[in-house]
Amino acid sequence: MYHKNKWGYIMKVKFLSLVLAASLLATSLMGCGNNTDSKATSTEAVKEEVNEDSKTEDTGSEADTPAAETTDGKTIVTMWIMPNSGEPEADFLTVMAPFLEQNQDIDIQVTVLDWGSAWTKITTAATSGEGPDITQLGTTQVAAVAAMGALEDLTGIYDRFGGEEAFVPATLPTTQILGAGEERFAAPWFIDTRALFYRKDICEAAGVNPETDFETWDSFKAALTKMKGVTIEGKEVTPLAMPGKNDWNVIHNFAPWIWGAGGEFIADDNKTSVVDSNEAYEGVKFYTELASEGLMSMPALEKNSAEVEALFNSGEAATIFTGAYEIATLRREQPELAEKIGTAPFPAGPAGRYAFFGGSGLSVFNSSANKEAAYRIIEYLMTPDAQVAYQRLCGNLPTVQATYETDFVSEEPMREAFKEQLEFGKAYPSVAGWGPSETILQKGLSNVWDNVMGVYGDYKPEQTKEFLTQTAGESTVIYNE
């Protein structure tokens, strides 16, 4: 009997430990359960937000909203924006203040999303139909969200922005789904483009003429070669510093080189990736070999954009390709250094001169119940005054042509190159599969950097070609879905 009981006891303990082990396993599987069940959980998250929104609707808007007291009789427009400026919500509402003053019937509720989580939230909103009235979308996201049938066609209200001619031409293709009709699902809000920032003093010491030497790839490379080994204030500077693979901007940094060599990302059929074409390969090779030839800092290739900018701002690099926001950073943080810095448009490649154009647009979800009020807000944000006011706070560039004739450009010599660059800006093909394919391109181009950095033994150009071929194959699968 004792024996029997002991056995029972042992069985119980055994059962308990099994339950313990199973629950441990289950708890950890939760991670993957969550992964695979993103829809349900994030829908909840969005629902919560919507609930929160309606709660504030009842109690009045937040303290820093201009019209704080009452919402009776007012149309409340909900809006999602990204952290575009230092204080995203306050800065945006500052720009909106004159509009809200004049339009007492409208109030605006802003939610700032993080770029990292924005994609999930936006797509959840698109699938569940429970989103805000207006959302900011990255230029590469518009086609994907529009293809899900979640966005309102804005073509009809472009007249209210002054027509299509009012915008910088290169921004317009990003508002459509390429090859799928003429509807415009977004209004271009701002441009993010990268130009060359250079140190005037280093150019002088190296005998480089910034006026002419940054015109073409070859003259640019020759200039970098001259700058190699130059010491300024006892420090040897690296000719060019750029982030490599650990960054959100990997593809943006490659794109102008691919285009400049005559390459493209997607063929005319909008279905086939041609990132492995000979032209694209030549562009990638030219750019990455700046590193293998010692003209570009290898250690910087492990850093992200912000860290590489910090490197340039601390005087360790002679040149860098970066966005217009660098101007504001320099003026604010390093006013002395700013005086020594000039800007030049992206150099011209053998097949033409191109600069990467990204940025964001504003879209209206077709689930919105306040479309007219949403249009009025977008209309206001497309006026030259609001565009300039917002970009003074954000540091990017306006999309409305008229703004480039204002003192926004004339007061800041470093913006001149960006204005010039509007002529040859180019955006990524606006197809629904672009967003997902970016990660594949990022992975492939990371492998290319690994090759240059000697991960697979000595640098072999033909291996770069192999990685591009693999990337093209994988991307084509995505474009054909």
Partner: protein, 325 residues
């Protein structure tokens, strides 16, 4: 001994031991665990089952709206992962699987050994023992994604680690690239160990304190040295705690994500052929490339692998999970 004897007296002899009889007999216990069971079903079981269902569907950005009503494609997602040369999942899957295995094995061994060593040391009386314990616990307090960001920063070519190794200690002729190439494995293992050791150490320390001092005193009288005490008293009596920690380790290393993801450009980067783990791979394919179906299939494959490992673990340690009398 006494306790079990009492227990055997207390538990009445039952003739009928049917399931229902046992349930009604332990009604209170079932009431008490009911909320936990409901929660487990809601937040564990349903997501797992829907995850498995997703792995049979063509679920991408165009069909996401239909979710579980997306087109059924049978085992095609599995075929894609295992055989389709043009699939982005296939190209990195076996690298990630291999990396995860190496990562898990090395982390398990090193974490357990270091934690055991520290636990044994901390179990002794010495001055400032409390302070030492507190300090050793601090890495555990740091959120894992912060650990990833910080170490990612320190591992950079011109970062503090290379400065110490090369500029101060002169251990390498030139500064190595820790975040590129095969060295990535070192770069992800060390922070993981650093973060994981305190927790395991704490568990082992708790286990050590359960061992009565008399055992050691008796062994000493018999002339046993420190090593023999450790081998014949500490280790056998810690075995049940150790076995749970091994299980815990297997699971947490296979599902390791935060540190690796954050170390490469704060989630933007690709850890590369030698550093990509299963979870970063699945996350990339599911949430960035929008292949939710294949992502779910890969998760199921990983889940099966882990179940296999847990089964092996159970066979090896089943006797140690039983309280011996």
């Amino acid at each position: 001994m006494n306790r079990s004897k009492n227990q055997s007296k207390r538990i009445p002899k039952r003739k009928k031991t049917g399931l229902w009889a046992r349930i009604t007999e332990n009604k209170l216990a079932y009431y008490l665990i009911a909320p936990a069971i409901v929660a487990m079903i809601l937040i564990h079981f349903i997501p797992i089952v829907s995850g498995i269902m997703m792995s049979f569907l063509k679920l991408n950005q165009f069909t996401l709206k239909k979710f579980l009503k997306a087109p059924f494609i049978g085992l095609d997602n599995y075929r894609t992962i295992l055989f389709d040369q043009n699939s982005t999942m296939r190209s990195g899957f076996f690298d990630a699987l291999r990396n995860t295995a190496i990562f898990g094995l090395i982390c398990s061994i090193l974490v357990l050994s270091i934690a055991l060593l520290l636990a044994v040391l901390l179990n002794r009386e010495f001055k400032f023992r409390g302070l030492a314990r507190t300090l050793l616990m601090t890495p555990w307090v740091v959120p894992s994604f912060v650990v990833g960001m910080l170490w990612g920063f320190m591992w950079q070519n011109d970062g503090i680690i290379n400065r110490i190794l090369v500029d101060v200690l002169h251990l390498f002729p030139s500064k190595p690239y820790w975040l590129t190439g095969p060295a990535v494995m070192v770069a992800i293992i060390i922070p993981t160990i650093w973060r994981q050791v305190p927790f395991v150490m704490l568990m082992l320390l708790a286990g050590l304190q359960q061992i009565p001092d008399e055992f050691y005193e008796a062994a000493k009288i018999d002339g046993a040295g420190a090593w023999r005490c450790f081998r014949h008293i500490t280790l056998p009596l810690l075995k049940s705690v150790l076995s749970i920690q091994i299980l815990n380790g297997i699971i947490s290393y296979v599902y390791s994500f935060n540190i690796v993801a954050m170390m490469f450009g704060h989630g933007a980067g690709f850890p590369g052929k030698y550093g990509d783990l299963m979870m970063t791979n699945i996350n990339r394919n599911s949430f960035q490339i929008w292949q939710f179906g294949t992502g779910a299939a890969a998760t199921v494959i990983v889940m099966l692998c882990v179940m296999g490992l847990v089964a092996i673990w159970y066979r090896v340690f089943q006797n140690d999970l039983v309280v011996k009398e």
